[in-house]
């Protein structure tokens, strides 16, 4: 299929832009920005095409490309998308594209910034389109170091220093990934032994790994390791504390990508590896995940209530929202997993818009302290609109895609775990309280003369607002655009069969 080269092309578009930028002179900042924008636009256009060209009635991995890579250990350079990874791919490129525009006003070391940003986008994208576990990890770990460098150079020092924030974020993620690596090697070796018994060579392909059968005790241990790694990434309580500090220290584009998509690798990994490959392990740990998820939702929302810094509010709110995703994964049924994927998409768009708007507020006012701000809607109506949309999407207002996603999750969770579902719904109330408080204090209220000199966002600065708001409402009003794809992923990826096995195991006396 000639289509199989679209995915590598999508992945290479930012790399190409990066290579061009490396050879551009340092001073030509405008050219550098335009090249970065073009590269990410290419990737976005291709992923939009993929999103609509994906055959929903067939489902499964499409546009797949598999090239044998490291033969002796069976690594394949495998790319492909299904209904679970396709929304994530689209999300990555939406955010990557808008992140370039959110960084349009960067003036310090522009070249370095965009080179690192493009590495970051490529790494995240690679993680979602990889169909090979080894390539998945390779791409995931690529992103950690550029983030560190970006935080320490372009970050901001407020409550914690940017060096501290960057190092905390990096160490949390790397220690998490150390455990994931052990789990990956264990899984690989177990699979290799099984395959060797069948007379086949070892493999890292997700699809083949999912077809093998692992001991229940093995699954429990390995899933726990993955849970530790992916849990840190998705900021599961008690491994969440890097997230607000990290976002607060990071420059806008990094906050957008980190909160928007990078975190979702945690949820995506738990579904792709945890649920699909190690279903019995997932079943064993589901109650624990559910409890931690509830703590995430409620506790983080409480903390967000008390925050004074805008970025900390959104940081904790993203921790809280990720609780919903975790809860949906813990519920282990089709509806909830459907909701989990949708929620990751919805939250990604919303968080990116929120961080983008906060970035502009900070850039113009040089403060993120809620008490210092007020009445900004008078001076900057367009920025206020974006801020409002992000806030309202965050609290799950009907009409935004976030509502649909949360509703699906609660629907799915309530079927199997009524009490956690009720607690999670209660979480929405807190979300509404802290979001509305922030919106009221920052945007509304009497006009403050000290902000009269501020110019509203315009030109390139409007791109994030327009694109992301369009997606929030577009998929919110026509959720089928998104859900058809996700459904085809969830229903045809073998998940149904896996969940059936899980159900039988439960009857078999696991609990």
């Amino acid at each position: 299929m000639s289509n199989s080269f679209i995915l590598p092309m999508t992945l290479l578009a930012p790399i190409l832009a990066l290579l061009i930028i490396v050879f551009l002179p340092r001073e030509e900042t405008k050219t550098i920005k335009i090249v970065a924008a073009l590269g990410t636009f290419m990737a976005l256009a291709l992923s939009v095409y993929l999103f609509f060209a994906y055959d929903r009635s067939v489902g499964g991995m499409q546009f797949a490309l598999t090239i044998p890579w490291i033969r002796d250990i069976g690594v394949n350079l495998g790319f492909g998308v299904d209904g679970i990874s396709l929304p994530m791919l689209l999300l990555t490129n939406l955010i990557g594209f808008t992140a370039v525009y959110s960084s349009w006003n960067i003036e310090n070391r522009v070249k370095d910034f965009f080179v690192l940003l493009l590495i970051l986008i490529t790494g995240v994208m690679g993680t979602f389109i990889a169909t090979d576990l080894f390539i998945f990890f390779l791409c995931y770990e690529i992103v950690v170091i550029p983030i560190y460098i970006m935080v320490i150079i372009w970050g901001s020092t407020k409550r914690v220093s940017k060096e501290y924030a960057g190092m905390k974020l990096t160490i949390y993620l790397l220690i998490g990934s150390a455990f994931m690596l052990v789990a990956m090697v264990a899984l690989y070796l177990n699979a290799a032994n099984q395959l060797a018994a069948m007379g086949k060579g070892p493999t890292f392909m997700f699809a083949q790994l999912a077809q093998l059968h692992y001991d229940q005790s093995f699954q429990i241990v390995v899933f726990a390791l993955f849970l530790f790694g992916f849990g840190s990434l998705i900021s599961m309580f008690p491994f969440h504390s890097w997230s607000p500090d990290g976002y607060a220290g990071a420059p806008t584009a990094v906050s957008m990508i980190h909160a928007g998509v990078l975190k979702k690798i945690g949820g995506y990994g738990l579904i792709r590896l945890g649920v699909l490959v190690l279903p019995l392990g997932a079943r064993f740990w589901a109650p624990v995940i559910a409890v931690l998820a509830i703590i995430n939702i409620l506790y983080a929302a409480f903390i967000a209530l008390a925050q004074k810094d805008l970025k900390y509010v959104v940081g904790y709110s993203s921790v809280s929202h990720m609780g919903n995703v975790l809860l949906a994964i813990a519920a282990l049924n089709m509806t909830s997993l459907d909701g989990a994927v949708a929620m990751m998409f919805a939250h990604g768009v919303m968080a990116a818009l929120f961080f983008s708007m906060i970035g502009f507020v900070y850039e113009k006012t040089h403060t993120r302290n809620i008490a210092d701000l007020g009445g900004l809607a008078h001076q900057m109506p367009r920025l206020a609109t974006g801020f409002m949309i992000a806030g309202l999407a965050g609290l799950g207002l009907p009409g935004t895609v976030n509502f649909i996603a949360e509703f699906t999750i609660f629907n799915g969770v309530a079927k199997v775990m009524p009490v956690p579902a009720i607690l999670a719904v209660i979480g929405i109330i807190f979300t509404a309280v802290y979001t509305l408080r922030v919106i009221a204090n920052v945007l509304f209220g009497p006009r403050r003369s000290e902000w009269d000199h501020l110019k509203d966002i315009r030109g390139p600065e409007l791109v994030p607002l327009v694109v992301l708001a369009f997606v929030i409402f577009g998929t919110g009003i026509f959720p089928n655009i998104l859900f058809q794809v996700i459904d085809s992923g969830v229903y045809s990826s073998g998940l149904a069969k896996v969940l059936e096995t899980v159900g039988q195991a439960t009857i078999g006396g696991l609990f």
């Binding site: 890579w69 490291i70 033969r71 002796d72 250990i73 070391r109 370095d112 080894f134 990890f137 390779l138 791409c139 770990e141 690529i142 950690v144 170091i145 560190y148 460098i149 320490i152 150079i153 940017k162 060096e163 190092m167 990096t170 160490i171 790397l174 220690i175 990934s177 150390a178 455990f179 690596l181 052990v182 090697v185 264990a186 690989y188 070796l189």
Partner: protein
């Protein structure tokens, strides 16, 4: 003796002749005009390297003198490694040597002599041959470490290395003599057969002595105490050579020795456990002590101690005498040793460059390097991250091979230690990155790289990156080298 094919020893003979020849040339040319030594050395090494490559793929295999000296692909692989390391050291030390006040002529021949010693170690199938190679390397290093005679620190390092290395050689020799007494042979294969399942205290003692002697060369904890002081005091290019090639030579000997010893029950019981514990301690202590270091060379010294721990894991993976597992572990060690050369040479070349331009080895003097010398900063970042095992750099694939090989043997805990410690190592590696990128380095000069240094940096960077993304060619070489050993 009749079928003694001298042609197979071409690389060794060429190295010996060239190092002596260059020494003589250096004496003949008047002191002011010794710049020609550099291209001569580079071309000599390049030629030998090209021949060794050819030999690796198409050459004949042979064992000389009933197995005293082996000419197999395993030795070939290590010869390539030593030659590449020597070449990179020579390239990166050009500016350094030109600034030396005296004795410029002898620097390059000494590097070649040390390389010859390492090549002999890689091929040694007999403890005596091994010892000769080891001493040739070590004694050359005595001179190289103390090369700047008017520098107190270098002289101190030289004396320390002399005393400690001699002591370790003595211990090694003592171990060899005990083994000879027990088995009546110094040839590794005969020893293994003769020892059989003998677990007498004398055998154990001999094994431990041998391990201690080799452990000194690869700076295993607790035989590591020399490393930081000597790394700090020695001229930076020599430090690089010491950290990279001398360590790899130690591993070459260790693997050959270890593999043959696997046939003896004694070794499986004592050696295995001992190495496992040493590897864990080396990784943990090496990484933790590296964290507070403020001198780049000391930091790299401790990091190289920790790296020895990782590589040792691969040696341990060779635990059951079965062909498949032999290859798994040895392949991992070979692969890692090679990419370790590129990563470390990148880091040390940057350190050499900065030290030369600013006269300091302190990490804080790397401030703002990202602006003052962007290429050097990028190479330093890539090199230390490869050492830490962060993809897409080669270190990740290397560590994956090492740890998966040992996990395959059922030693999961050591892999945990390895993975967690390599993530902790990111902390101090990123410390350097932080200094280079986040500070402005005001008042420090712009120090762009040129010529041979620039070539070395670009070459190590590209190799580290390419082998991280597409490691297959090197892996195939490592596999054939490892298999040649098992046959």
């Amino acid at each position: 003796m009749a079928n003694f094919n001298f042609a197979l020893l071409t690389p060794e003979i060429v190295m010996a002749v060239l190092s002596l020849g260059l020494l003589v040339i250096g004496l003949l040319i008047p002191p002011g005009e010794r710049k020609g030594m550099f291209p001569l050395t580079v071309f000599a090494l390049l030629g030998t390297l090209a021949y060794t490559f050819y030999d690796f793929f198409y050459g004949e295999r042979a064992a000389f003198l009933q197995g005293m000296y082996m000419h197999d692909q395993f030795a070939g692989y290590f010869k390539i490694l030593f030659l590449i390391a020597a070449l990179l050291v020579v390239l990166s030390s050009k500016g350094y040597v030109e600034k030396l006040p005296a004795n410029r002529g002898e620097f390059y021949p000494l590097i070649m002599a040390a390389t010859l010693g390492m090549m002999l170690m890689a091929g040694a199938g007999d403890l005596i041959t091994m010892y000769v190679g080891l001493e040739l390397m070590t004694i050359t290093f005595f001179i190289l470490v103390a090369y700047r005679t008017n520098d107190g620190k270098a002289s101190e390092a030289g004396i320390k290395y002399l005393v400690l290395a001699s002591a370790s050689s003595a211990i090694l020799l003592y171990g060899i003599s005990i083994i000879y007494g027990l088995t009546g042979s110094t040839q590794m294969f005969m020893i293994a057969q003769a020892l059989g399942s003998d677990t007498s205290p004398a055998t154990i003692l001999a094994t431990v002595f041998l391990l201690a002697g080799i452990g000194f060369k690869i700076s295993l904890i607790p035989f590591h105490l020399w490393a930081p002081d000597i790394y700090e005091g020695a001229p930076t290019p020599v430090t690089a050579f010491l950290a990279v090639a001398s360590k790899a030579a130690g591993f070459a000997v260790l693997i050959r020795f270890y593999l043959l010893m696997m046939y003896s029950q004694t070794f499986v019981q004592t050696g295995q456990t001992l190495l496992l514990v040493l590897a864990a301690i080396t990784m943990i202590v090496g990484n933790l002590v590296a964290i507070p270091q403020t001198n780049i060379k000391r930091m790299l010294a401790y990091s190289s101690i920790a790296q020895a721990g990782y590589i040792l894991i691969g040696v341990i993976a060779v635990s059951v005498p079965a062909v498949s597992t032999f290859v798994g572990g040895i392949k991992a060690v070979l692969f890692y040793a090679m990419i370790y050369v590129f990563a470390n040479m990148g880091a040390f070349t940057v350190a050499t460059h900065v030290a030369q331009a600013q006269g300091s080895d302190e990490i804080k003097d790397f401030a703002g390097l990202a602006k003052r010398s962007p290429l050097a900063a990028v190479v330093m970042t890539a090199s230390v991250l490869s050492l830490a095992g962060i993809p897409p750099l080669a270190g990740f694939v290397g560590k994956f091979y090492l740890f998966s090989a040992v996990m395959d043997q059922g030693y999961v805990w050591i892999a945990y230690v390895g993975f967690v410690m390599s993530m902790i190592s990111v902390y101090y590696y990123l410390g350097v990155v932080k200094v280079m990128y986040s500070t402005e380095g005001e008042g420090l000069p712009d120090i762009p790289v040129h010529g041979a240094t620039k070539f070395t940096l670009v070459f190590t960077l590209i190799t580290t990156l390419v082998l991280g993304i597409y490691p297959t060619p090197l892996v195939q070489m490592a596999i054939s080298a490892a298999s040649s050993l098992v046959k």
